[in-house]
């Protein structure tokens, strides 16, 4: 086996055998299986649904679920590696052929890869590390009527509650701003937005 695009590590022994077994599937069956796989890749949280769909596929096509799961595991190695390395559909097709998949099926999978890669890329970017990500902001503002030192005050205050994700926990941060501080905060945030937009 020549150099593969989707990985630099040696591929597990079982993969060639699994790819070979796919010969038994007709084009239609392979296309149905591919659809199940991509539906899972674009919605990775739906594990239950994926397993149900796999088991339905196995029953409908009279294949045992165990071997099918192994085959699926081998197939998924390629799109996962391809995503990390920003591979083109040509490279994905070449890798499948190198692993032993028929040209027809490899081309079909690569086509589906091309169609789905914007969604998959967006998902991968969304998973990128963020430090103390700001999740939510709540606010209230009001008037201070009086205090123990001053009978009548009448000044405006603004309170912000920032919900921040620290690691896997959410933390609330409460901050109070005076009116001039609020306007300067707003001004700074608008400058940030201009800066971010110039880079998009």
């Amino acid at each position: 086996m020549g150099l593969l695009n989707f990985t630099r590590d040696p591929v597990p022994e079982a993969v060639s055998g699994d790819m070979h077994n796919l010969i038994q599937l007709s084009a239609q069956q392979f296309s149905a299986l591919t659809e199940v796989l991509f539906r899972f890749l674009t919605e990775p949280k739906e594990v239950e649904r994926f397993l149900t769909q796999l088991s339905d596929f196995a029953t409908m096509n009279k294949i045992s679920l165990g071997p099918l799961k192994n085959i699926v595991k081998s197939i998924l190695l390629v799109p996962n590696g391809a995503l990390k390395r920003n591979l083109s559909s040509e490279q994905v097709r070449a890798d499948f052929i190198a692993l032993g998949l028929s040209e027809e099926k490899a081309s079909y999978f690569a086509e589906q890869w091309k169609v789905n890669s914007p969604t998959l890329t967006r998902l991968a970017v969304g998973q990128t590390l963020m430090i103390n990500q700001l999740i939510d902001m709540e606010w209230k503002f009001g008037v201070t009527a009086g205090s123990s030192e001053l009978e009548k005050v009448g000044s405006i205050f603004l309170q912000l509650k920032l919900v921040i994700k620290k690691g896997s926990q959410l933390e609330n941060v409460y901050v109070e701003l005076t009116l001039p501080q609020f306007y300067s905060f707003l001004h700074e945030m608008e400058r940030v937005k201009t800066s971010l937009e110039s880079f998009s």
């Binding site: 995503l83 990390k84 390395r85 920003n86 890329t121 991968a124 970017v125 998973q127 990128t128 590390l129 963020m130 430090i131 103390n132 990500q133 700001l134 999740i135 902001m137 606010w139 503002f141 201070t144 205090s147 030192e149 001053l150 009978e151 009548k152 005050v153 000044s155 405006i156 205050f157 603004l158 309170q159 912000l160 920032l162 921040i164 941060v173 409460y174 901050v175 109070e176 701003l177 005076t178 009116l179 501080q181 609020f182 306007y183 300067s184 905060f185 707003l186 700074e188 945030m189 608008e190 400058r191 940030v192 937005k193 800066s195 971010l196 937009e197 880079f199 998009s200």
Partner: protein, 156 residues
């Protein structure tokens, strides 16, 4: 410290009572928000020395707004935002994807704990927060709404 003689002790007591009384007077003026001479003059008893009364009133009037601002600055509150710094980064690569160009914003908020609790040594903590472009847009929307409501209140 040198030992106090009897006479000195009596004088010290009177002095402390005087300072305490002055403090109460000025606090009362600040609390009620008096800014006219008549209001302050009215606080003194009839028999009070005229010139002294006028002098005290003049001095108090000169200081009243400074004292009011100080009281407002040190009133109890939630932690205050004292400073804001930011920077924009472009994320180019990560373990989940080798090539990307995603702009992101890092905000550093300097937050000072309640002034009333800390007295002369306020504790300032720095919090760095990351925002994606979408989060920033949502935040600006919220801030814009606050600004609109503030102008509506101001124009009433």
């Amino acid at each position: 410290m040198a030992a106090l003689r009897d006479g000195d002790f009596g004088a010290l007591q009177i002095l402390l009572k005087l300072v305490s009384a002055l403090h109460n007077l000025t606090r009362h003026v600040v609390y009620r928000g008096f800014n006219r001479a008549e209001d302050i003059l009215g606080l003194f008893p009839e028999s009070f020395h005229q010139n002294l009364k006028n002098l005290l009133t003049k001095i108090i009037l000169e200081n009243v707004s400074t004292w009011r601002n100080e009281a407002q600055a040190s009133q109890i509150s939630l932690p205050q935002l004292v400073d804001l710094d930011w920077r924009v980064d472009i994320k180019t690569s990560s373990d989940s994807i080798a090539r990307m160009a995603v702009p992101t914003c890092l905000l550093q908020l300097k937050i000072q704990e309640d002034a009333a609790l800390c007295g002369n040594n306020p504790v300032v903590s720095a919090l760095t927060v990351e925002l994606s472009k979408e989060t920033l847009d949502t935040m600006l929307e919220g801030l814009g709404r606050i600004r609109d409501q503030l102008s509506a209140v101001a124009n009433k």
